[in-house]
């Protein structure tokens, strides 16, 4: 399957990654190589095969909806913040 530079640019946008023009060029070639290699999977007959998204036979692991009593104090939760103000993480404006 061919992947165009425009597609790579669009996917980078979806992944919220800014690529420099040289990076975009190099990456597009490398991704094309990788996708060409991956195309060998098209040779296999997968009719009636169930997908395995999780390898263990366990499902719907839930617990009681009770607070465990161990909460992270606010200061600890914010201690790695690149920018903070009071009890908030500060970020650039969200709304246009």
């Amino acid at each position: 399957m061919a992947i165009s530079k425009d597609t790579v640019k669009y996917v980078a946008h979806l992944a919220r990654i800014e690529l420099k023009p040289k990076e975009l060029e190099k990456l597009s070639k490398q991704l094309q190589n990788i996708l060409d290699f991956i195309d060998k999977l098209n040779k296999i007959n997968i009719e009636n095969i169930a997908p395995t998204s999780h390898i263990l036979p366990i499902n719907n692991v839930l617990r009681e909806d009770i607070a465990s009593g161990e909460s992270l104090p606010i200061d600890k939760a914010l201690m790695n913040a690149p920018e903070r103000q009071a009890h908030f993480f500060v970020v650039p404006k969200v709304i246009e």
Binding site: M1, I3, T7, V8, V11, A12, H13, L14, A15, R16, I17, E18, L19, K20, E23, L27, Q30, L31, N33, I34, F37, I38, K40, L41, N42, I44, I46, I49, A50, P51, T52, S53, H54, I55, L56, I58, V61, R63, L72, K76, A77, M79, N80, A81, P82, E83, F89, V90, V91, P92, K93, V94, E96
Partner: protein, 485 residues
């Protein structure tokens, strides 16, 4: 007293029990060794932050590890100690909690070394060349890679800069560096060891595991870190046996399968010869072997690089400059909008391999491509697992080389991502199938580079791995050999 860093944990525990030494002496010896050789090996990162002296747990409790230092890969969270996945985007990150394995280690009396071991950024790699801090060098040949992504842990154990170490394995990242560095590395069954506190790469493939000087130390460490954890909903509530009880020098009657697809034209001929010699040795000890087929082997790397990158693209979405780590243009925060900040932070903060994998992973999950790539890969994963299920009906274990080649030169494969990916060909299937696997040293090439033998067993049968690995080790001396540094 001299050179305590050269001993194994079980030898040190004996000396501690006999009151010949105290734990502080082990830590001193280790730090001395690190000062002597780490400028050449570069197994550790952020070394100048090692504090003197470290806090040693001296309370008795169930003190199995008696203050023995354990070296931790940089993607496992340690409370108050920087954990950065060797990436620029997580610089300065200090976790406010311990991973479950760290908690268990502390409860068992281990001393957590306060410098982390080097790794490929976010575990993306097979050589430790993708680290933000630069590569680690193989102690057996400093111009060669130590393997990856747990290259720092494997190199440290190999060079006696560590007594015990933890790594993580998503596609071979414990086993391959263990093979390249001539040490023991084990990837547990998926769900055997808690992933709580392991910074996730691929949630359905990741496992934390031991990297050690010999099989007995590996069993010791597995006893401590294994077990059900309610904080990891993928951990399994199956009793942890005492793995040291499997350290029995007897393999009579064990049925070994040798997959023909793993002994192919492309592999290094020395690796092939060394493996055949090792298998014959096991036959001499009473095991039997037979050629088998794992027909979907050739698709494993392709399946992995769809599933793992897809999961990685999701797991790494959290690194966006908001809550921790690097943020682009912090001082101009009011002049940008949020999306711009995400893009610049991630574009600037992630290395090349991380960007490559995230974009590939995003692509295979995107509308229009999901069925052709991701869903198809999940179905082939089922076929790969079935190959193993079938084999384990008749055989107790499978033996393969850990890697098709010994350690390659630094810089040799870094420009060709696909070439790098193909070096995982023997280790990847175990992660896809969720089965346990161990690598033990089984020889050296003519150039003096270590070669590893990999043993695979069915889920939750680490005991079989220990039994076979121990018997092989006790009848050889590979584990006693040390690099000249």
């Amino acid at each position: 007293m001299a050179e305590l860093n050269k001993l194994t944990a079980h030898e040190l525990i004996e000396k501690l029990n006999n009151k010949e030494i105290v734990a502080e002496e082990i830590l001193s010896a280790l730090k001395k060794r690190i000062r002597e050789v780490d400028s050449k090996v570069k197994a550790y990162v952020r070394l100048n932050k090692i504090s003197e002296p470290a806090n040693l747990r001296t309370k008795e409790q169930e003190n199995k590890l008696k203050g023995i230092p354990v070296s931790i890969k940089d993607n496992i969270c340690t409370d108050g100690l920087n954990t950065e996945c060797c990436s620029k985007i997580l610089e300065g990150f200090r976790p406010p909690y311990d991973a479950t394995v760290i908690k268990r280690l502390r409860q068992a009396g281990a001393a957590i070394l306060d410098a982390k071991t080097n790794m490929d950024e976010f575990a993306f790699g097979s050589s430790t060349e993708n680290s933000f801090f630069g590569p680690t060098h193989n102690p057996w040949d400093l111009t060669c890679v130590p393997g990856g992504s747990s290259g720092g842990s494997a190199a440290a154990v190999s060079s006696d800069e560590a007594i015990l170490a933890l790594g993580s394995d998503t596609g071979g990242s414990i086993r391959q560096p263990a093979a390249f560095c001539g040490v023991v590395g084990l990837k547990p069954t998926y769900g055997r060891v808690s992933r709580f506190g392991l910074i996730a790469f691929a949630s359905s493939l990741d496992q934390i595991g031991p990297i050690t000087k010999d099989v007995q130390d590996c069993a010791l460490l597995m006893n401590v870190i294994s077990g059900y954890d309610p904080r990891d909903c993928t951990s399994v509530n199956i009793k942890v046996p005492d793995y040291t009880k499997s350290l029995v020098n007897d393999v009579k009657g064990i049925k070994i399968g040798i997959p023909k697809e793993y002994f192919i034209a492309g592999m290094d001929p020395e690796v092939k010869d060394i493996l055949e010699e090792a298998i014959n040795q096991l036959k001499g000890l009473g095991a039997t072997y037979k050629e088998i087929s794992l027909p979907h082997t050739e698709y494993a790397v392709a399946v992995y690089y769809i599933i793992a990158t897809a999961e990685a693209s999701s797991n790494l979405a959290r690194f966006d400059g908001v809550q921790y780590g690097f943020r682009s243009q912090k001082s101009e925060v009011r002049s940008q909008n949020l999306i711009d900040m995400y893009k610049k932070t991630r574009g600037n903060g992630f290395g090349q391999e991380a960007k490559r994998r995230i974009i590939l992973g995003t692509f295979v999950l995107s509308h229009g491509y999901y069925d052709a790539y991701y869903l198809r890969a999940l179905k082939v994963r089922t076929l790969i697992k079935q190959d193993f299920d079938q084999t384990f009906k008749e055989f107790d274990c499978i033996i393969t080389p850990t890697s098709p080649t010994p350690a390659f030169k630094i810089g040799e494969k870094i420009e060709d991502p696909l070439k790098m990916y193909l070096s995982d060909i023997y280790t990847i299937s175990a992660n896809l199938a969720g089965i346990p696997a161990i690598s033990v040293p089984c020889g050296f090439t003519k150039k003096g580079l270590p070669v590893g033998l990999q043993i695979l067993a069915k889920p939750f049968n680490e005991e079989m791995l220990f039994r076979l690995a121990y018997a092989y080790e006790q009848n050889t001396s590979w584990h006693k050999m040390k690099p000249k540094l």
